[in-house]
Symmetry: D2
Subunit: 173 residues, 4 copies
């Protein structure tokens, strides 16, 4: 399993797609965005679910955590059943988020990858995408990496997604 962690607009999804194209075996690419889409609409903009503030902040409630934990268990089971999986996530809690994944993925081989992007550059890309709340890139750029331990870090500030994917692929046996 490959876990990509980085702030909003750091380029995780692009790297995931390039990894899928680069790696010889078929890998599934899943992300926390997909999890949010599978939740009821009522979980969004809700205290117990996930809430986005006007300045790009994100707050996570108890109900969200319960579903997220089950989702992590499910992905671990998919991997144990033979699926190769690239997960892209935003560790809002830094090391604590990583700890949740470690617990769920116990026993599985995991490549932990930090996806960095300078805050100002990520903010510009957020504008260029036009589909994200303004401010998420800046507010997440640093905090998601706090005390997280990686096997490998890539930086999309000056490197293309495909280059980053090749660097990562070289670590996948």
């Amino acid at each position: 399993m490959i876990v990509l962690n980085g702030g909003s607009s750091s380029g995780k999804s692009g790297i995931a797609r390039c990894l899928q194209s680069t790696l010889p075996d078929p890998w599934l690419a899943v992300g926390v965005d997909t999890l949010i889409e599978t939740m009821p609409a009522s979980m969004q903009a809700s205290e117990s679910g996930i809430d986005f503030t006007a300045d790009g902040g994100v707050s996570i409630g108890a109900e969200f955590r319960v579903l997220e934990a089950a989702w992590m268990e499910g992905l671990a089971a998919m991997a144990r059943a033979g699926a190769r999986i690239i997960v892209d996530d935003v560790f809002l809690g830094g090391a604590e988020s990583q700890q949740r994944w470690r617990k769920a993925l116990g026993g599985l081989e995991v490549l932990w990858v930090g996806v960095r992007c300078e805050s100002a550059v990520a903010a510009g890309r957020e504008i260029a995408r036009g589909d994200r709340l303004s401010g998420m890139a800046v507010s997440q750029a640093e905090v998601v990496h706090r005390d997280v331990l990686y096997d490998l870090e890539v930086d999309t500030t000056r490197a293309e997604s495909l280059e980053c994917a090749r660097t990562i692929a070289a670590q996948v046996v």
Copy 2:
């Protein structure tokens, strides 16, 4: 777990969203479309993956089956970890497809729901949606129900998604 089975454009996704809105607890809605999106682009239009023919036919290869099996195992694990899940699928193999799900979901309580829609009506809705290959609705309308056993069947030909969802929700304890 609730499994909705029906042909393309029979209205499964709409029913799933109405179920999420109707049921008091939070349910995740996942579907085979999501699985396909998580696969590498190279799995589409490929013999070993999934291939769509010009007349709306779908053929599934060995590699697809391997990933699908792992995905089913993963969803079962999510459910065992406490997540309530609505799956929407297209049983291209009829009873054989159901058998694959039964094996993966062993021990879990499952509500099997058939979602029917008259072929001509589904074909019209396929045109109205504009995002599906023409012909899928007709070619799948009957075959996906072949020898499948249901707890409940709904028919969207004349009933709205929300009505169908309420009928289903009444069976969920």
Copy 3:
């Protein structure tokens, strides 16, 4: 030119796609949703632009009206240059909105079509779609038809999009 007017989730876009599929000549389908997407992100959730309230209300500002007027002029010019166009719009101002279109489309042959859907049914379809603000269907269902004059009205409450499209197509010479 064909102008379809109806509330949110009344089924205008589906009818437009069915018309494109039914009519022998190629028709372009455009709508106020497309106009909104072409505007700067800052025009949304803005007093001078367009703003959606939590209960499904929509308020339109002066800046929006200026761009909308230019857009109407542009569509009229496209039609005069030979393009067949199906417009789908939401006449929030009823007869006043129609008056704006009449002014822009002066001299062009227009088929005015009212797309009705019972409020409760449209509200259910809004939930099934899952991509619209809850409440828009109900708040717009009646008001958009106030004092509007039609050549033809269709009702999607019990008729399929394709049937409605065929009824409309029969009026197009």
Copy 4:
């Protein structure tokens, strides 16, 4: 009016959104992709419409040209009616495509902007996006600029969309 011309995956849409965010007045952003979406589904994969070949080639038929010409006239009329418009297009015919625009936009002030991106980089971004036919970036990278006259050229190979947008915005009075 600002016309951005560049190959697929050269970054035109991102620059357009950054321009909308950077320029003090509201500008509409439209593109040939929007035109294609407004056409009937039957115009795609059709000899008289637009056809995409497996290697990323694009061929345009007579019917497409007729609608495109009307669309250009319509955009010119929108601009004359006071709308500020950013167009993003792919000049498959190079100077000949520009000539078509010049004819439609006669009398309007236009800023012609070439958006360049090294072929290999654009191809990598095409993979990262995952929503374009593979090969389009490479096959269009050079040909769309053939004999086209620009007021300004930007290159996204090493510059961010927002930087390019600022360079362009500085030329807009």
